[in-house]
């Protein structure tokens, strides 16, 4: 997949930082404002897809190599399982091994903030991997998946 014209590349250079920062803010402040892990992850994936469409397949793969896509996804699932299940050691359900602070602060809410970050990474990498598998690697000519 090749890139697009110069106008699209210039606008992407200006706008991509804002998209990624807004997606990260939606993920991290998920327990205080609307959004959360799923919405922020989809926005991060949209930023990566914009990078792929504007600059071509090779520029996106320099940022994020193919071998790392499934690794980041696995890290997301295992981290979420670890956060949820590790409370069972002390006899509590999830959320009680990190204390709830005062409300309306950033570091409050127990495990909710860390779960939001992990789910945001997972959903963002998942949508970007689906896009690469269906739309970017279909144009490949008779070459296998390089591992």
């Amino acid at each position: 997949m090749n890139g697009m014209t110069l106008i699209v590349k210039t606008i992407t250079r200006l706008v991509l930082g804002f998209i990624v920062v807004f997606g990260a803010m939606t993920v991290v402040y998920g327990h205080l404002s609307p959004g959360g892990g799923f919405g922020g992850g989809v926005m991060l994936a949209c930023g990566l897809i914009l990078l792929t469409l504007a600059f071509g397949r090779k520029a996106a793969l320099e940022v994020f190599r193919e071998k790392l896509l499934t690794s980041w996804d696995s890290f997301g699932v295992v981290s979420l399982a670890e956060i949820v299940f590790i409370g069972l050691i002390g006899g509590y359900a999830m959320g009680h091994h990190i204390s709830h602070g005062e409300s309306f602060r950033l570091l409050s809410g127990g495990t909710v903030m860390w779960s939001n970050i992990v789910v945001g990474i997972k959903v963002g990498v998942f949508l970007f991997a689906i896009f690469m598998a269906f739309a970017a690697f279909r144009m490949n000519d008779n070459r296998e998946w390089r591992e």
Partner: protein, 175 residues
Amino acid sequence: MLLLYGLIVFMILGAIIAIETKDLLSSVISVGAMGLVLSIVFLILGAPDLAMVQVAVEVIALIMLIRLIVVREDVTIAHRYRYGDVFATSVGLIFAGVFIVFAAIAYRGMPSFGNPLFRVSQEYISEGFDIANIPNLVTAILLEFRAYDTLGEATVIFTSIVGAFVILRKKGRND
């Protein structure tokens, strides 16, 4: 209220246009417009989390659909009416009519919009902030009270991406 009903009528018209038009690009654009109007309907009904996710996912789905259309050679659908179509359409309409009648009868017994039926839902709304100290109630229910369901959903997403990679790797090898 009038705005809500107007937008719902717009969505129905968009769905009918998406099915009945012969050009594939027109139907994809109509699906995209329908998704955008759905996110406005979510905002009117008071769900900003759903509206944000709906806009972003609609953009991604539209990009992938347009890419699939551009790759194909012919972008129109040729449809010949056959004899079995009349029977299939009439049976479908009869079953849809029976379902709508029974749904309308069952709808009168349900509680109104905003008063939940189960006791647990009422306790989440009234005591959720005191127990968990998290202002966003939707995130609190997803990740604090019902975190095991979120873990199951994350597992389903992970299985689907592994399955997609396995299938596409085999396709790339045989071509």
